[in-house]
Symmetry: C2
Subunit: 198 residues, 2 copies
DNA sequence: ACGATAAGATACACGACTGTACCTAACATC
DNA sequence: GATGTTAGGTACAGTCGTGTATCTTATCGT
Protein backbone atom coordinates (compact mmCIF):
# COMPACT_ATOMS: atom_id res chain seq x y z
CA UNK A 1 0.00 0.00 0.00
CA UNK A 2 2.79 2.45 0.89
CA UNK A 3 4.10 4.49 -2.00
CA UNK A 4 7.75 3.70 -1.50
CA UNK A 5 7.21 0.00 -2.21
CA UNK A 6 9.14 -1.21 -5.18
CA UNK A 7 8.32 -4.88 -4.82
CA UNK A 8 4.88 -6.39 -4.46
CA UNK A 9 4.32 -9.51 -2.43
CA UNK A 10 1.47 -11.72 -1.35
CA UNK A 11 -2.00 -10.47 -2.09
CA UNK A 12 -0.95 -7.33 -3.95
CA UNK A 13 1.09 -9.35 -6.37
CA UNK A 14 -1.46 -12.13 -6.71
CA UNK A 15 -4.23 -9.67 -7.50
CA UNK A 16 -2.13 -8.06 -10.21
CA UNK A 17 -1.36 -11.46 -11.74
CA UNK A 18 -4.96 -12.64 -11.53
CA UNK A 19 -6.45 -9.57 -13.18
CA UNK A 20 -3.74 -9.71 -15.82
CA UNK A 21 -4.63 -13.32 -16.63
CA UNK A 22 -8.35 -12.61 -16.73
CA UNK A 23 -8.03 -9.52 -18.89
CA UNK A 24 -5.67 -11.27 -21.23
CA UNK A 25 -8.06 -14.19 -21.63
CA UNK A 26 -11.06 -11.91 -22.08
CA UNK A 27 -9.29 -10.17 -24.94
CA UNK A 28 -7.47 -13.02 -26.65
CA UNK A 29 -9.05 -16.24 -25.45
CA UNK A 30 -7.41 -19.18 -23.72
CA UNK A 31 -5.75 -20.34 -26.92
CA UNK A 32 -3.57 -17.23 -27.12
CA UNK A 33 -2.95 -17.08 -23.38
CA UNK A 34 0.76 -17.25 -22.59
CA UNK A 35 2.86 -16.94 -19.48
CA UNK A 36 4.76 -14.24 -21.28
CA UNK A 37 1.71 -12.08 -21.92
CA UNK A 38 0.43 -12.44 -18.36
CA UNK A 39 3.82 -11.55 -16.93
CA UNK A 40 4.15 -8.48 -19.15
CA UNK A 41 0.64 -7.25 -18.33
CA UNK A 42 1.17 -7.80 -14.61
CA UNK A 43 4.59 -6.17 -14.86
CA UNK A 44 6.34 -9.05 -13.21
CA UNK A 45 8.91 -11.61 -14.23
CA UNK A 46 7.98 -14.88 -15.87
CA UNK A 47 10.01 -16.71 -13.26
CA UNK A 48 7.62 -15.45 -10.59
CA UNK A 49 4.74 -17.13 -12.40
CA UNK A 50 6.54 -20.42 -12.89
CA UNK A 51 7.24 -20.50 -9.16
CA UNK A 52 3.50 -21.06 -8.57
CA UNK A 53 1.93 -22.39 -11.74
CA UNK A 54 3.13 -24.66 -14.47
CA UNK A 55 0.63 -23.60 -17.09
CA UNK A 56 -1.28 -20.47 -18.17
CA UNK A 57 -4.59 -22.32 -17.91
CA UNK A 58 -3.73 -23.50 -14.42
CA UNK A 59 -3.10 -19.93 -13.44
CA UNK A 60 -6.32 -18.76 -15.07
CA UNK A 61 -8.46 -21.24 -13.17
CA UNK A 62 -7.04 -20.02 -9.87
CA UNK A 63 -7.69 -16.45 -11.00
CA UNK A 64 -11.31 -17.12 -11.90
CA UNK A 65 -11.98 -19.05 -8.71
CA UNK A 66 -10.51 -16.30 -6.56
CA UNK A 67 -12.35 -13.59 -8.44
CA UNK A 68 -16.00 -13.91 -7.46
CA UNK A 69 -17.92 -10.71 -7.91
CA UNK A 70 -20.95 -12.54 -9.30
CA UNK A 71 -24.04 -10.94 -7.89
CA UNK A 72 -27.04 -13.04 -7.05
CA UNK A 73 -30.42 -11.71 -8.09
CA UNK A 74 -32.52 -10.61 -5.12
CA UNK A 75 -36.17 -11.18 -5.99
CA UNK A 76 -38.42 -8.37 -4.77
CA UNK A 77 -41.85 -8.56 -3.30
CA UNK A 78 -44.26 -9.21 -6.10
CA UNK A 79 -42.85 -8.33 -9.49
CA UNK A 80 -41.99 -11.50 -11.39
CA UNK A 81 -41.53 -9.71 -14.70
CA UNK A 82 -39.36 -6.97 -13.25
CA UNK A 83 -37.27 -9.44 -11.28
CA UNK A 84 -36.70 -11.60 -14.35
CA UNK A 85 -35.52 -8.59 -16.34
CA UNK A 86 -33.28 -7.55 -13.48
CA UNK A 87 -31.80 -11.06 -13.31
CA UNK A 88 -31.01 -10.99 -17.01
CA UNK A 89 -29.49 -7.53 -16.61
CA UNK A 90 -27.20 -8.96 -13.93
CA UNK A 91 -26.27 -11.76 -16.27
CA UNK A 92 -25.47 -9.38 -19.13
CA UNK A 93 -23.37 -7.14 -16.90
CA UNK A 94 -21.43 -10.11 -15.62
CA UNK A 95 -21.01 -11.51 -19.10
CA UNK A 96 -19.36 -8.33 -20.25
CA UNK A 97 -17.03 -8.03 -17.31
CA UNK A 98 -13.52 -9.32 -17.95
CA UNK A 99 -14.18 -12.35 -15.76
CA UNK A 100 -17.39 -13.14 -17.59
CA UNK A 101 -15.79 -12.83 -20.99
CA UNK A 102 -12.90 -14.99 -19.86
CA UNK A 103 -15.26 -17.69 -18.64
CA UNK A 104 -17.21 -17.57 -21.89
CA UNK A 105 -14.00 -17.83 -23.87
CA UNK A 106 -12.91 -20.92 -21.94
CA UNK A 107 -16.30 -22.58 -22.29
CA UNK A 108 -16.52 -21.97 -26.04
CA UNK A 109 -12.97 -23.04 -26.85
CA UNK A 110 -13.27 -25.99 -29.24
CA UNK A 111 -10.13 -27.48 -27.73
CA UNK A 112 -11.54 -27.19 -24.24
CA UNK A 113 -10.66 -29.83 -21.70
CA UNK A 114 -13.77 -31.36 -20.09
CA UNK A 115 -11.90 -31.41 -16.79
CA UNK A 116 -11.41 -27.66 -17.06
CA UNK A 117 -15.09 -27.11 -17.77
CA UNK A 118 -15.96 -29.22 -14.76
CA UNK A 119 -13.50 -27.26 -12.63
CA UNK A 120 -15.10 -24.01 -13.73
CA UNK A 121 -18.59 -25.14 -12.79
CA UNK A 122 -17.31 -26.42 -9.50
CA UNK A 123 -15.18 -23.43 -8.53
CA UNK A 124 -17.04 -20.53 -10.10
CA UNK A 125 -20.69 -21.28 -10.69
CA UNK A 126 -21.52 -23.56 -7.80
CA UNK A 127 -20.59 -20.81 -5.39
CA UNK A 128 -23.73 -19.05 -6.46
CA UNK A 129 -27.09 -20.78 -6.26
CA UNK A 130 -27.57 -21.84 -9.84
CA UNK A 131 -28.17 -19.57 -12.78
CA UNK A 132 -29.68 -16.12 -12.84
CA UNK A 133 -33.34 -16.45 -13.74
CA UNK A 134 -33.38 -19.80 -11.93
CA UNK A 135 -33.07 -18.02 -8.60
CA UNK A 136 -36.00 -15.76 -9.42
CA UNK A 137 -38.22 -18.50 -10.79
CA UNK A 138 -37.66 -20.78 -7.82
CA UNK A 139 -38.50 -17.89 -5.52
CA UNK A 140 -41.86 -17.26 -7.17
CA UNK A 141 -42.58 -20.96 -7.32
CA UNK A 142 -42.10 -21.05 -3.56
CA UNK A 143 -44.58 -18.21 -3.12
CA UNK A 144 -47.08 -19.99 -5.32
CA UNK A 145 -47.12 -17.35 -8.03
CA UNK A 146 -45.63 -19.81 -10.52
CA UNK A 147 -46.58 -23.44 -11.05
CA UNK A 148 -43.55 -25.46 -9.88
CA UNK A 149 -44.35 -28.16 -12.40
CA UNK A 150 -43.53 -25.66 -15.15
CA UNK A 151 -39.95 -25.24 -13.96
CA UNK A 152 -38.35 -27.87 -16.13
CA UNK A 153 -34.65 -27.64 -17.01
CA UNK A 154 -35.64 -26.26 -20.39
CA UNK A 155 -37.86 -23.53 -18.99
CA UNK A 156 -35.33 -22.55 -16.32
CA UNK A 157 -32.78 -21.90 -19.03
CA UNK A 158 -34.82 -19.94 -21.57
CA UNK A 159 -33.75 -16.50 -20.39
CA UNK A 160 -30.07 -17.37 -20.20
CA UNK A 161 -30.17 -19.10 -23.57
CA UNK A 162 -31.75 -16.13 -25.32
CA UNK A 163 -29.26 -13.71 -23.81
CA UNK A 164 -26.30 -15.94 -24.64
CA UNK A 165 -27.41 -16.33 -28.24
CA UNK A 166 -27.99 -12.61 -28.63
CA UNK A 167 -24.51 -11.84 -27.34
CA UNK A 168 -22.99 -14.40 -29.68
CA UNK A 169 -24.88 -12.95 -32.64
CA UNK A 170 -24.33 -9.25 -32.04
CA UNK A 171 -21.22 -9.27 -29.87
CA UNK A 172 -22.77 -6.53 -27.82
CA UNK A 173 -24.79 -6.24 -24.63
CA UNK A 174 -28.56 -6.38 -25.19
CA UNK A 175 -30.41 -3.27 -23.97
CA UNK A 176 -33.29 -3.31 -21.52
CA UNK A 177 -35.89 -3.33 -24.28
CA UNK A 178 -34.50 -6.55 -25.65
CA UNK A 179 -34.34 -8.15 -22.22
CA UNK A 180 -37.98 -7.18 -21.67
CA UNK A 181 -38.89 -8.73 -25.01
CA UNK A 182 -37.20 -11.96 -24.00
CA UNK A 183 -39.13 -12.06 -20.75
CA UNK A 184 -42.46 -11.11 -22.34
CA UNK A 185 -42.23 -13.19 -25.48
CA UNK A 186 -40.30 -16.27 -24.35
CA UNK A 187 -40.02 -16.74 -20.59
CA UNK A 188 -43.48 -15.70 -19.38
CA UNK A 189 -45.37 -17.64 -22.09
CA UNK A 190 -43.49 -20.78 -21.06
CA UNK A 191 -44.80 -20.27 -17.52
CA UNK A 192 -48.34 -20.18 -18.91
CA UNK A 193 -48.93 -16.72 -17.51
CA UNK A 194 -50.79 -13.91 -19.21
CA UNK A 195 -48.35 -11.69 -21.09
CA UNK A 196 -48.01 -7.99 -20.75
CA UNK A 197 -47.97 -5.89 -23.85
CA UNK A 198 -45.62 -3.05 -23.00
CA UNK B 1 -9.13 -39.20 -59.87
CA UNK B 2 -6.71 -41.61 -61.60
CA UNK B 3 -4.54 -43.70 -59.31
CA UNK B 4 -1.23 -42.96 -60.94
CA UNK B 5 -1.44 -39.27 -60.10
CA UNK B 6 1.27 -38.10 -57.78
CA UNK B 7 0.40 -34.44 -57.85
CA UNK B 8 -2.99 -32.93 -57.21
CA UNK B 9 -4.08 -29.79 -58.99
CA UNK B 10 -7.08 -27.55 -59.20
CA UNK B 11 -10.22 -28.79 -57.47
CA UNK B 12 -8.70 -31.94 -55.98
CA UNK B 13 -6.02 -29.95 -54.27
CA UNK B 14 -8.34 -27.17 -53.19
CA UNK B 15 -10.78 -29.61 -51.62
CA UNK B 16 -8.00 -31.24 -49.64
CA UNK B 17 -6.81 -27.86 -48.40
CA UNK B 18 -10.30 -26.67 -47.54
CA UNK B 19 -11.26 -29.73 -45.55
CA UNK B 20 -7.90 -29.62 -43.80
CA UNK B 21 -8.50 -26.01 -42.77
CA UNK B 22 -12.04 -26.71 -41.60
CA UNK B 23 -11.11 -29.80 -39.61
CA UNK B 24 -8.16 -28.06 -38.06
CA UNK B 25 -10.34 -25.15 -36.97
CA UNK B 26 -13.07 -27.43 -35.67
CA UNK B 27 -10.55 -29.17 -33.45
CA UNK B 28 -8.31 -26.35 -32.35
CA UNK B 29 -10.16 -23.10 -33.02
CA UNK B 30 -9.10 -20.16 -35.15
CA UNK B 31 -6.60 -19.00 -32.57
CA UNK B 32 -4.43 -22.08 -33.01
CA UNK B 33 -4.92 -22.24 -36.76
CA UNK B 34 -1.59 -22.09 -38.59
CA UNK B 35 -0.49 -22.38 -42.18
CA UNK B 36 1.85 -25.10 -41.05
CA UNK B 37 -0.88 -27.28 -39.54
CA UNK B 38 -3.14 -26.88 -42.57
CA UNK B 39 -0.32 -27.77 -44.91
CA UNK B 40 0.64 -30.85 -42.92
CA UNK B 41 -2.95 -32.09 -42.70
CA UNK B 42 -3.53 -31.51 -46.40
CA UNK B 43 -0.18 -33.15 -47.18
CA UNK B 44 0.99 -30.24 -49.26
CA UNK B 45 3.76 -27.68 -49.01
CA UNK B 46 3.33 -24.42 -47.16
CA UNK B 47 4.51 -22.59 -50.25
CA UNK B 48 1.43 -23.83 -52.07
CA UNK B 49 -0.78 -22.16 -49.49
CA UNK B 50 1.09 -18.87 -49.54
CA UNK B 51 0.66 -18.73 -53.29
CA UNK B 52 -3.09 -18.20 -52.80
CA UNK B 53 -3.66 -16.90 -49.28
CA UNK B 54 -1.70 -14.65 -47.01
CA UNK B 55 -3.34 -15.73 -43.79
CA UNK B 56 -4.85 -18.87 -42.22
CA UNK B 57 -8.09 -17.02 -41.51
CA UNK B 58 -8.28 -15.82 -45.08
CA UNK B 59 -7.97 -19.40 -46.23
CA UNK B 60 -10.57 -20.58 -43.74
CA UNK B 61 -13.17 -18.09 -44.93
CA UNK B 62 -12.77 -19.30 -48.50
CA UNK B 63 -13.06 -22.87 -47.25
CA UNK B 64 -16.27 -22.21 -45.34
CA UNK B 65 -17.83 -20.29 -48.19
CA UNK B 66 -17.07 -23.03 -50.67
CA UNK B 67 -18.29 -25.74 -48.34
CA UNK B 68 -22.10 -25.42 -48.22
CA UNK B 69 -23.81 -28.65 -47.29
CA UNK B 70 -26.31 -26.83 -45.10
CA UNK B 71 -29.69 -28.40 -45.61
CA UNK B 72 -32.81 -26.29 -45.52
CA UNK B 73 -35.74 -27.63 -43.55
CA UNK B 74 -38.63 -28.71 -45.77
CA UNK B 75 -41.86 -28.15 -43.88
CA UNK B 76 -44.36 -30.97 -44.38
CA UNK B 77 -48.06 -30.78 -44.78
CA UNK B 78 -49.54 -30.14 -41.39
CA UNK B 79 -47.20 -31.02 -38.57
CA UNK B 80 -45.83 -27.86 -36.98
CA UNK B 81 -44.42 -29.65 -33.96
CA UNK B 82 -42.74 -32.38 -35.99
CA UNK B 83 -41.32 -29.91 -38.47
CA UNK B 84 -39.89 -27.76 -35.71
CA UNK B 85 -38.18 -30.76 -34.14
CA UNK B 86 -36.86 -31.80 -37.53
CA UNK B 87 -35.51 -28.31 -38.13
CA UNK B 88 -33.68 -28.36 -34.80
CA UNK B 89 -32.33 -31.80 -35.64
CA UNK B 90 -30.91 -30.39 -38.87
CA UNK B 91 -29.32 -27.59 -36.90
CA UNK B 92 -27.75 -29.97 -34.40
CA UNK B 93 -26.38 -32.20 -37.14
CA UNK B 94 -24.88 -29.22 -38.92
CA UNK B 95 -23.49 -27.80 -35.69
CA UNK B 96 -21.58 -31.00 -35.07
CA UNK B 97 -20.20 -31.31 -38.55
CA UNK B 98 -16.63 -30.03 -38.93
CA UNK B 99 -17.90 -26.99 -40.82
CA UNK B 100 -20.45 -26.19 -38.13
CA UNK B 101 -17.93 -26.51 -35.34
CA UNK B 102 -15.49 -24.35 -37.26
CA UNK B 103 -18.10 -21.64 -37.74
CA UNK B 104 -19.03 -21.78 -34.07
CA UNK B 105 -15.37 -21.52 -33.11
CA UNK B 106 -14.89 -18.43 -35.27
CA UNK B 107 -18.03 -16.76 -33.95
CA UNK B 108 -17.14 -17.35 -30.30
CA UNK B 109 -13.51 -16.30 -30.56
CA UNK B 110 -13.14 -13.36 -28.18
CA UNK B 111 -10.56 -11.86 -30.52
CA UNK B 112 -12.91 -12.16 -33.47
CA UNK B 113 -12.80 -9.52 -36.14
CA UNK B 114 -16.27 -7.99 -36.78
CA UNK B 115 -15.43 -7.94 -40.48
CA UNK B 116 -14.88 -11.69 -40.37
CA UNK B 117 -18.19 -12.25 -38.62
CA UNK B 118 -19.91 -10.13 -41.23
CA UNK B 119 -18.19 -12.06 -44.00
CA UNK B 120 -19.38 -15.33 -42.48
CA UNK B 121 -22.99 -14.21 -42.37
CA UNK B 122 -22.73 -12.94 -45.88
CA UNK B 123 -20.96 -15.92 -47.42
CA UNK B 124 -22.30 -18.83 -45.40
CA UNK B 125 -25.64 -18.07 -43.77
CA UNK B 126 -27.25 -15.78 -46.29
CA UNK B 127 -27.05 -18.53 -48.90
CA UNK B 128 -29.75 -20.31 -46.98
CA UNK B 129 -33.02 -18.57 -46.26
CA UNK B 130 -32.51 -17.51 -42.68
CA UNK B 131 -32.20 -19.76 -39.68
CA UNK B 132 -33.62 -23.24 -39.19
CA UNK B 133 -36.86 -22.88 -37.25
CA UNK B 134 -37.43 -19.56 -39.00
CA UNK B 135 -38.11 -21.34 -42.26
CA UNK B 136 -40.68 -23.60 -40.62
CA UNK B 137 -42.41 -20.87 -38.66
CA UNK B 138 -42.74 -18.58 -41.67
CA UNK B 139 -44.22 -21.46 -43.63
CA UNK B 140 -46.95 -22.10 -41.07
CA UNK B 141 -47.58 -18.39 -40.70
CA UNK B 142 -48.24 -18.30 -44.45
CA UNK B 143 -50.75 -21.15 -44.15
CA UNK B 144 -52.50 -19.38 -41.30
CA UNK B 145 -51.71 -22.02 -38.68
CA UNK B 146 -49.57 -19.54 -36.75
CA UNK B 147 -50.33 -15.92 -35.96
CA UNK B 148 -47.78 -13.91 -37.99
CA UNK B 149 -47.82 -11.21 -35.33
CA UNK B 150 -46.22 -13.67 -32.95
CA UNK B 151 -43.14 -14.11 -35.14
CA UNK B 152 -40.97 -11.47 -33.53
CA UNK B 153 -37.17 -11.69 -33.76
CA UNK B 154 -37.13 -13.08 -30.23
CA UNK B 155 -39.66 -15.81 -30.92
CA UNK B 156 -38.03 -16.78 -34.22
CA UNK B 157 -34.80 -17.43 -32.36
CA UNK B 158 -35.99 -19.41 -29.35
CA UNK B 159 -35.30 -22.85 -30.78
CA UNK B 160 -31.86 -21.97 -32.04
CA UNK B 161 -30.96 -20.24 -28.80
CA UNK B 162 -31.97 -23.21 -26.66
CA UNK B 163 -30.02 -25.63 -28.82
CA UNK B 164 -26.95 -23.40 -28.90
CA UNK B 165 -26.95 -22.99 -25.13
CA UNK B 166 -27.41 -26.71 -24.60
CA UNK B 167 -24.45 -27.48 -26.82
CA UNK B 168 -22.31 -24.92 -25.02
CA UNK B 169 -23.24 -26.38 -21.64
CA UNK B 170 -22.88 -30.07 -22.38
CA UNK B 171 -20.54 -30.05 -25.36
CA UNK B 172 -22.64 -32.80 -26.86
CA UNK B 173 -25.50 -33.07 -29.32
CA UNK B 174 -28.95 -32.95 -27.69
CA UNK B 175 -31.03 -36.06 -28.33
CA UNK B 176 -34.52 -36.03 -29.84
CA UNK B 177 -36.21 -36.00 -26.46
CA UNK B 178 -34.49 -32.79 -25.53
CA UNK B 179 -35.34 -31.19 -28.87
CA UNK B 180 -38.98 -32.18 -28.33
CA UNK B 181 -38.87 -30.63 -24.86
CA UNK B 182 -37.54 -27.39 -26.33
CA UNK B 183 -40.34 -27.30 -28.87
CA UNK B 184 -43.07 -28.25 -26.39
CA UNK B 185 -41.93 -26.17 -23.45
CA UNK B 186 -40.43 -23.10 -25.08
CA UNK B 187 -41.24 -22.62 -28.76
CA UNK B 188 -44.90 -23.65 -28.92
CA UNK B 189 -45.93 -21.72 -25.78
CA UNK B 190 -44.44 -18.58 -27.31
CA UNK B 191 -46.71 -19.10 -30.31
CA UNK B 192 -49.69 -19.22 -27.93
CA UNK B 193 -50.67 -22.66 -29.14
CA UNK B 194 -51.95 -25.52 -26.98
CA UNK B 195 -49.05 -27.72 -25.90
CA UNK B 196 -48.79 -31.40 -26.32
CA UNK B 197 -47.87 -33.55 -23.40
CA UNK B 198 -45.75 -36.32 -24.86
C1' DA C 1 19.62 -5.74 13.18
C1' DC C 2 19.75 -10.17 10.98
C1' DG C 3 18.57 -14.09 8.34
C1' DA C 4 15.12 -16.39 5.47
C1' DT C 5 12.19 -15.76 1.75
C1' DA C 6 10.83 -14.60 -2.59
C1' DA C 7 10.35 -10.76 -6.30
C1' DG C 8 12.69 -8.94 -10.07
C1' DA C 9 15.90 -9.31 -13.78
C1' DT C 10 18.90 -11.42 -17.26
C1' DA C 11 20.52 -15.16 -20.03
C1' DC C 12 20.18 -19.42 -22.48
C1' DA C 13 18.89 -23.41 -25.53
C1' DC C 14 14.93 -25.30 -27.62
C1' DG C 15 10.90 -25.69 -30.48
C1' DA C 16 7.07 -23.87 -33.38
C1' DC C 17 5.54 -20.93 -36.89
C1' DT C 18 6.48 -17.37 -40.27
C1' DG C 19 7.43 -15.50 -44.83
C1' DT C 20 10.52 -15.75 -48.56
C1' DA C 21 13.77 -17.73 -51.96
C1' DC C 22 14.95 -21.28 -54.90
C1' DC C 23 14.90 -25.54 -57.30
C1' DT C 24 12.55 -29.86 -59.51
C1' DA C 25 9.46 -32.27 -61.79
C1' DA C 26 4.59 -33.38 -62.78
C1' DC C 27 0.75 -31.79 -65.32
C1' DA C 28 -2.08 -29.32 -68.94
C1' DT C 29 -2.32 -27.10 -73.36
C1' DC C 30 -1.33 -26.38 -77.98
C1' DG D 1 6.73 -33.49 -78.23
C1' DA D 2 7.78 -28.74 -76.75
C1' DT D 3 6.39 -25.20 -73.43
C1' DG D 4 4.33 -22.73 -69.67
C1' DT D 5 2.27 -23.45 -65.29
C1' DT D 6 2.27 -24.87 -60.70
C1' DA D 7 2.63 -28.51 -56.96
C1' DG D 8 6.08 -30.36 -54.03
C1' DG D 9 10.22 -29.99 -51.44
C1' DT D 10 14.24 -27.84 -49.01
C1' DA D 11 16.52 -24.18 -46.84
C1' DC D 12 16.93 -20.03 -44.22
C1' DA D 13 16.62 -16.03 -41.07
C1' DG D 14 13.54 -13.93 -37.95
C1' DT D 15 10.12 -13.87 -34.13
C1' DC D 16 7.80 -15.56 -30.15
C1' DG D 17 6.93 -18.44 -26.32
C1' DT D 18 8.95 -22.04 -23.24
C1' DG D 19 11.17 -23.79 -19.17
C1' DT D 20 15.34 -23.56 -16.45
C1' DA D 21 19.38 -21.52 -14.17
C1' DT D 22 21.50 -17.88 -11.83
C1' DC D 23 22.10 -13.63 -9.40
C1' DT D 24 20.51 -9.32 -6.80
C1' DT D 25 18.20 -7.22 -3.40
C1' DA D 26 13.61 -5.66 -1.31
C1' DT D 27 10.63 -7.18 2.17
C1' DC D 28 9.06 -9.92 6.11
C1' DG D 29 9.41 -12.25 10.63
C1' DT D 30 11.69 -12.63 14.84
Amino acid sequence: MSEGRTRRRGKDLLDAIYTAAIEETAESGPARLTMDAIAKRAATARTTLYRRWSDPLDLLLDALAEHHPVETPAPGADDLRGDLIAALRLMVDWGFSPAGRAVMAVLTDPARDPAVVEALWERVFRKRGGTFTQTVLRHYAATGAVDPARLTPVVLDIGEAMVTKRILDTGRAPDDDYLAAIVDQAVLPALALPQRNT
